[in-house]
């Protein structure tokens, strides 16, 4: 049976980016369809580590990140749950003087951005965060950052969008998008045809074919961060922990479990699926036990990973298509899209309504890849009528 639907905006991908955009657009009075090939919030947005942090982001992301920062404390009003968001502060550790120097340099570079970073020396750390083991020379503390439960937040945004009147279509993969008159025609699973004036491409790690079909190839790759979670423990870890130069990151959730990330998982035969490697998971576990003496007797109860879209310059693509009016991209968050997604949703809604936004996003333009991956699509009419190539 075939079905037709007509809306102002069709959103491809019900991750946190797509569903927060859907909710914001609905708030501006647009009719919206949110399509996901699986369940909304079941991919990167629902399985990530849950770090809600501005500290450490490239400086060009900070205005957008600050915008999102204002949304997080309002979750209950916005989506009906607080998503276990906790403004615990984010503490970034330095293992040696060189790391400490780069934390200092970062703090100086972002001094005007309102992160209120505080540099802490070895003794200060001992005093305030005695549960951190030896071998750390200092840290940088961002008091306004924190963490949240991605499973609740991402599903919560989609559920709130549905309640607000968004047509949420799960298990409905978009199979092709074409320009059609003044708007777009989308073909989706289950013989669904959808017409819309605008299309938001927020298909996460799967977004590249949609951009490419409109003549905008992008070097989007996939990463699979590895996660480990312990059984519930007594409250010890009062802040969200990161580490300069990578390594591990850790937080303690409301229930007491400690979530530790680090290393990279590997895809399975189906590249949409991934699982941590056994030795990678052990490395994370051992590092966590070494860094936090309180975890020496803890047990790991589960590992997992997720599929994330990554860009070579670690910045996402956010903004209007340069080939096709009405098409807006937002993908490639490279392991750091959870915190900024609610801000991205608002920006996307403004782009639909006004064609522009006050929040600086020029650095995320898809045009930055025009030269590097230039592709002459002879006679394809800038790819306007092509099917996405999967």
């Amino acid at each position: 049976m075939s079905r037709r639907l007509e809306v102002d905006v069709a959103i491809i991908g019900g991750g946190l980016v797509g569903s927060s955009a859907a909710l914001a657009l609905r708030g501006l009075g647009f009719s919206v369809a949110l399509l996901d090939k699986g369940f909304c919030g079941a991919q990167a947005s629902g399985v990530n580590y849950g770090g809600v942090r501005r500290q450490g982001r490239p400086i060009e992301q900070l205005p957008l990140s600050q915008r999102a920062h204002a949304v997080w404390p309002r979750l209950r009003a916005l989506i009906g749950i607080d998503g276990e968001f906790l403004r615990s502060g984010h503490l970034k550790l330095a293992r040696d003087e060189a790391d400490m120097a780069s934390l200092e340099a970062y703090a100086e570079a972002v001094a005007e951005q309102g992160l209120d970073l505080e540099l802490i020396g070895h003794n200060g750390l001992r005093e305030r965060f005695g549960w951190i083991g030896d071998g750390i020379v200092g840290a940088s503390f961002c008091p306004g950052d924190g963490h949240a439960n991605p499973r609740l937040v991402s599903t919560g945004f989609a559920a709130a969008a549905r309640r607000a009147g968004v047509e949420v279509l799960e298990n409905t993969a978009v199979e092709g998008v074409t320009r059609d008159g003044g708007g777009f025609a989308l073909e989706a699973a289950g013989n669904l045809t959808l017409r819309s004036r605008f299309v938001v491409n927020s298909a996460g790690a799967w977004a590249a074919p949609f951009a490419e079909s409109f003549g905008e190839p992008v070097p989007l790759s996939r990463i699979y961060p590895s996660m480990v979670v312990t059984e519930p423990m007594e409250p010890v870890m009062s802040v969200n922990i990161g580490m300069e130069g990578g390594g591990i990151y850790a937080r303690q959730v409301e229930r007491g479990n400690i979530v530790v990330g680090g290393e990279r998982a590997l895809p399975l035969n189906d590249p949409d699926l991934s699982r941590p490697r056994g030795d990678g998971a052990i490395a994370i576990m051992n590092n966590a036990a070494a860094l936090f003496p309180g975890l020496r007797h803890a047990q790991a109860i589960r590992f997992w990973s997720g599929t994330e879209g990554a860009m070579p310059d670690k910045n996402p693509v956010i903004g209007p298509s340069e080939t096709t009016h009405g098409l807006i991209h937002a993908f490639g968050f490279t392991g750091a899209g959870f915190q900024i997604a609610p801000g991205v949703g608002e920006v996307l809604a403004e782009l639909v309504r006004d064609g522009e936004t006050q929040t600086p996003i020029a650095a995320f333009s898809i045009g930055r890849f025009r030269e590097t991956s230039a592709r002459t699509d002879a006679g394809s009419g800038a790819g306007q009528n092509q099917e996405p190539q999967h």
């Binding site: 369940f39 079941a42 499973r151 599903t155 559920a159 699982r275 056994g278 020496r296 997992w304």
Partner: protein, 466 residues
């Protein structure tokens, strides 16, 4: 990735040294292969033929009752393979990836490359939540039996057995024989359901008659047998003090200090999931199980299943399925194998499977219980989530799939990864979402299949390879 500098062809790996794993190992050894058998238990035997921790003066007859001869034979046959296979007891296989198994032995993890993976992981008790089921003094039937078999102690001084399935009577009878005071057996199925057993007589007269004899002996010993028991509540402040139930519209109550509870068994399928096997809903077990052909081959070449881990069929079936699937492995490798023997085993397995239908009809699973589970009753014990919280999550987020329910409610996220609560969560979700049980999916498994210490050490060999 870490590489193993092995020159020899890797061994077939058998997980589980219960009846299925033992018979599989035996058949592979007979064909000249040298399998590696791992089991997290300290001794072979699996669930039903579990051995005691230390000699305690009890005979096999005391331990295994009518099954003593089978138990002795199985233990002896496995011992006879000594030197012809590798056997790692107390070895937990906690992860499978890319043709390698991660195995924990005494706090150290080894990675083993295998050629042929035979999963004989068995089953554990299936339960549904009840008021008070998390009180100290409430055990699964399996737990009650383990206490008796490996430690030689009863779970209370006045014990009630509750549930459905042949094990209910078996364990009650074993307790009675061991001299424990059994206060009552509460069967969730109506007495009329037992007439189904007559249909089983032509298939397995010995088993049916043995069951009847056990029931008769329980009655003779003055133990009350109650049928059609519902609305069960376990009472007690800090431990079990009494059990209350409804039967034929009347309220009943009995004081006791130990309860053995189980609603038949559920298969341990996590490793099959990690191995990438395709699953399908099985109406008889009301569970989503790994698919397999009559020989035990899964959808993944080189991965095989045998015994209760692939679907509940009992210990006799497990022995036959273990041998059968080993023959399939031989055949798949182009090695000589006894095709006539394989056919005979399959025929016996088919007969046992018909008998399973009879048992399911005689001891039906009370799936309807979940409809009435009180909101205050704990559903997921690891994460301490009540039925009411699960209902609220289902409705707030509009979920109708089990992994989504896990994501928004934490059900199945704890230590046991849903082994205990998944059946109940699926029933509750199906009911609340107005779907069939077959439409709500199954919890995806994640390593480690059981908790491992954060300080788990990698073997030196692996570190060197990195």
């Amino acid at each position: 990735m870490t590489g193993h500098p092995t020159s020899e062809r890797p061994q077939p790996l058998i997980v589980g040294a219960g009846p299925a794993g033992i018979r599989a190992a035996e058949a592979l050894v007979a064909a000249g292969l040298r399998p590696l058998v791992v089991d997290e238990a300290p001794a072979c035997g699996g669930q039903i033929y579990r051995q005691r921790l230390a000699p305690d003066g009890r005979s096999s007859r005391d331990l295994y009752g009518s099954e003593a001869a089978k138990a002795e034979t199985l233990h002896r046959d496995f011992a006879a393979l000594d030197g012809k296979l590798d056997y790692w007891p107390q070895a937990l296989l906690w992860n499978l990836r890319d043709g390698r198994a991660d195995i924990m032995i005494e706090g150290t993890s080894r990675q083993v490359a295998y050629d042929g993976l035979l999963l004989a992981t068995g089953a554990t008790d299936r339960t549904l939540p009840l008021p008070g089921w998390t009180l100290p003094g409430v055990f699964t039937l399996g737990g009650a039996q383990i206490a008796l078999k490996s430690q030689g102690c009863a779970i209370g001084s006045k014990v009630v057995f509750l549930g459905s399935g042949p094990l209910l009577y078996l364990v009650a009878w074993q307790y009675m024989k061991a001299g424990a005071k059994v206060a009552a057996v509460l069967d969730t199925a109506p007495f009329a359901a037992k007439f189904n057993l007559l249909r089983g007589l032509p298939l397995f007269p010995g088993i049916v008659l043995r069951g009847m004899r056990m029931t008769a002996e329980l009655k003779l010993a003055g133990i009350a047998l109650h049928y059609g028991v519902g609305d069960v509540r376990i009472e007690g402040a800090s431990k079990v003090e009494a059990i209350a139930w409804r039967q034929d519209g009347l309220e009943h109550r009995l004081t006791c200090d130990g309860i053995g509870y189980g609603l038949a068994l559920r298969s341990e399928t996590q490793l099959a999931d990690l191995a990438g096997c395709r699953f399908a809903f099985n109406a008889r077990d009301r569970a989503v199980l790994p698919e397999r052909d009559a020989a035990g081959r899964t959808s993944v070449p080189g991965v095989y299943l045998a015994g209760d881990g692939a679907g509940i069929a009992g210990a006799d079936a497990a022995e036959r399925a273990g041998e059968r699937v080993a023959l399939a492995l031989l055949q798949d490798r182009g090695l000589p194998h006894d095709a006539a023997r394989a056919a005979a085993l399959e025929a016996e397995l088919a007969r046992i499977s018909r008998f399973r239908e009879v048992l399911e009809a005689a001891f039906p699973f009370p799936a309807h219980w979940v409809r009435d589970i009180a909101d205050a009753t704990t559903l997921c014990r690891c994460e301490e989530i009540t039925a009411g919280e699960v209902r609220a999550a289902i409705n707030r987020f509009g979920v109708h799939e089990l992994n989504r329910l896990k994501a928004v409610s934490r059900v199945g996220m704890g230590r046991c990864q849903g082994r205990i609560c998944a059946a109940a969560a699926a029933e509750l979700l199906a009911h609340e979402a107005g779907r069939g049980i077959e439409a709500v999916g199954r919890l995806r498994s994640q390593a480690p299949v059981k908790p491992v210490p954060l300080t788990l050490a990698l073997t030196a060999q692996q570190e060197a390879a990195e």
